[in-house]
Amino acid sequence: MPYDPAQPMKDRITDIGPAHYEQFFPEIVKKNYGKWDYHEILEPGVLVHHSETGDELYTVRTGGTRIMSIIHIREICELADKYCDGHIRFTTRNNIEFLVADKSKLRPLINDLKSRGNKFPIGGTGAGITNIVHTQGWIHCHTAAVDASGVVKSIMDELFSHFGNMALPAHVRIAVACCLNMCGAVHASDIAIVGIHRKPPMVDEEFISKVCELPLAIAACPTGAIKGVKKEDGSRSLQIDNDKCMFCGNCFTMCPAMPMNDAEGDGVAILVGGKISNRLTKPQFSKVIIPFIPNEPPRWPTMVTAIKSILDAYAADANKYERLGDWAQRIGWERFFEKCDVTFNDKVIDDYRFAYPSWRQSTLFKWTD
């Protein structure tokens, strides 16, 4: 029986959690669980995992758009039914993984994927660029300072050769967050694009005392820039000290009557040098190297050019296995700006509370032109 609005509690099921993962494992995964011995990347986007049992599991990784219709999902299913015994997997970076146990189906699958225009690009493995993790952007979020899907499409079109190749010094992880809330691991990416606001919130006097808990909005400000005021008519409102605002948007999260979005004020900052893996060096945060680029929909050309320039400099200069941030630290950030042809801007010098250790406390610097 379907849902009956007249009896909402009838046959209600709650608190059952996700569908159990084991039912989705291909037979070869069930059989070789915990027995995988080693893997090889046969060509960009195509992996084989060898088991102690002698079994081999092939994976074809293709890029996916995070926003995806049921039409596209059904097409993925059609492919998986034909070549993968009805099994499919998604990665944490929105890639699609076609799992092939029968080697004779591998080449036909690859040919089929390649025949479908730009829908299923194969790649995203090894020392290249894999899919960009991103947030919702203008397509579905109220705090977004930039779109996300369109930014990702623009960057991936430009850097596409690196998706299907493994010629970089190490893998480069790119992420896009459409505001400082960063609903993705943007803060620890090789290259991160973050939507930022540059105008303080407006106070909507008509609604603010009706829709907001004013003390929560005041408390939400990390710099104490918001204070409560009593107006002549006795009603209460908020006042912003614009000089103290760092445009984090936390007040707007607490109070809908303090909108920040603005066509001229909003844009992106570019951060680089973050990583998550513990390989060779510790995890690192990404650092702001370009404080602002205006929004240029639909293809954000200035931003895309800047990213390309950073990536090209890294590709030409870094050592094998060296992540972008490790390269920048080895050559020194002053040299990094020079090599990437990024104009140094005083806005990238930290001036928030914990800034001091980020300034140079030594005479160990290099000369630049």
Binding site: G64, I67, F90, C141, A185, A219
Partner: protein, 424 residues
């Protein structure tokens, strides 16, 4: 004929990367909500600002999370996208699917919503994007009845735990990541659906220190696989790598000619603890000095394997910058065996959550509480042992908060007695 002209979005249909615009246009032919969403998005591309209202309180009965309310601010122009709520649907651990499951999911979503999804959202859930308010309960009903699948977390709840591919298809994994992820998700269903925390809480489980789910950067509690014994070495395979018989790093660098593999330069010298040596025929690892960074294993996966005595390192307190800056997770327990039903782990989490729920301020993440109250207090309330592995370096200031019972004779002293010996 499309309902709205979208000249700016149309420019995102060309190029080699898949186009979300092309996909949405196909969906728009079947569903007017998507047609109006495209119109709304085109308006944003023209205006350079978003057109969504702030939040909106909607949900399914009895849950305080799993649904995000979303209303367009131009319902006059785009009525079919006026209410466009999100359902977070708890993904199966590691995101393996059968096509049967996905097709059923598509059928449910075709019936009740816009037909747009995210596969997947940042936290890991399947995101169903675009439900009208009256369709929320029927969608939830069908998900639970037909797919045996529940909603995920949102708001000040436990968020849907997520994990890497683990032992299902990775030789590096030291953990049964799916088993841990699935068990914790089911154990804490109440915390996931009903907000009782100061703020969000995330568990993420990675099978090894390569951390493919970014747990160290993104989760309040990161469970990262590791091992205590020795890296397993196949000396013949090492020789084969040196002889150039196998591609290094599983072929991850094969797109460029980096020259022949040089084990001294690429492994021995790069080892961060310099605990390896190579004499031309034998690779030696001083495992006691190894910090398990995974580089040598990643470079020569056919020759080197993680150890057999496997468990997890637990790290706490990661978060994105809002509010006082980003934090990575801090190591608090270097090694814990992770075997079902994970009793030791859950006892630790109970104590941790008691502390956070007692002391945490509104919207204070665990990592911010740790920053405010100190690692010592966390050590004390959870009863874990202070060990040097927890710190990067010892404190550089001598401002130690001695407690009265730690100081001989206590804190109470007699000023009159003191003055008899020391005039003012």
């Amino acid at each position: 004929m499309p309902k709205h002209d979208t000249p700016l979005l149309d420019e995102l249909e060309s190029g080699p990367w898949p186009s979300f615009v092309t996909d949405m246009k196909l969906m728009a032919e079947k569903n007017e909500m998507v047609a109006d969403l495209l119109g709304l998005l085109e308006l944003s591309y023209k205006d350079k600002v978003g057109h969504w209202k702030h939040g909106g309180i909607v949900g399914v009965f009895g849950y305080g999370g799993g649904v995000i309310g979303r209303y367009a601010d131009r319902p006059d122009q785009f009525p079919a996208a006026a209410a466009f709520h999100t359902l977070r649907v708890n993904q199966p651990s590691s995101k393996f699917y059968t096509t049967e499951y996905l097709k059923n999911l598509c059928n449910i979503w075709e019936k009740h919503g816009s037909g747009l999804t995210n596969m997947h959202g940042s936290t890991g859930d399947i995101i169903l994007l675009g439900a009208k308010t009256e369709e929320l309960e029927p969608t939830f009903f069908d998900l639970t009845h037909e797919l045996d699948t529940d909603l995920g977390g949102s708001g000040s709840n436990l968020r849907s735990p997520s994990c890497c591919v683990g032992k299902a298809r990775c030789e590096f994994s030291c953990l049964d990541t799916q088993a841990i992820c699935n068990d914790l998700t089911n154990e804490y269903q109440d915390e996931l659906h009903r907000p009782a925390f100061p703020y969000k809480f995330k568990f993420k489980i990675s099978g090894c220190p390569n951390d493919c789910v970014a747990s160290i950067a993104r989760s309040d509690c990161a469970i990262i696989g590791t091992w205590k014994d020795n890296i397993r070495i196949d000396q013949e395979a090492v020789k084969a790598y040196v002889a150039g018989e196998f591609p290094v790093n599983g072929g991850a660098f094969s797109g460029r000619d980096w020259g022949p593999f040089d084990i001294e330069k690429e492994v021995i010298d790069l080892c961060p603890t310099h605990c390896m040596s190579w004499n031309g025929s034998t690779l030696k690892i001083n495992n006691r000095e190894c910090n398990r960074c995974m580089h040598c294993i990643s470079v020569m996966p056919k020759a080197l394997r993680v150890g057999k005595e496997q468990g997890a390192s637990l790290l706490l307190g990661a978060k994105a910058p809002i509010l006082e800056g980003a934090q990575f997770a801090t190591l608090v327990i270097p090694f814990m065996k992770m075997q079902a039903p994970f009793v030791e782990f859950k006892e630790f989490i109970d104590k941790l959550w008691d502390w956070w729920m007692e002391e945490g301020r509104n919207r204070e993440r665990l990592g911010e509480l740790m920053q405010r109250k100190g690692l010592q207090e966390l050590i004390e309330v959870t009863g874990i042992k202070a060990v040097p592995q927890m710190i990067e370096y010892p404190r550089e200031n001598p401002y130690i908060f001695w407690k009265e019972d730690e100081v001989e004779g206590g804190f109470t002293r007699d000023i009159h007695k003191f003055r008899k010996e020391h005039s003012m």
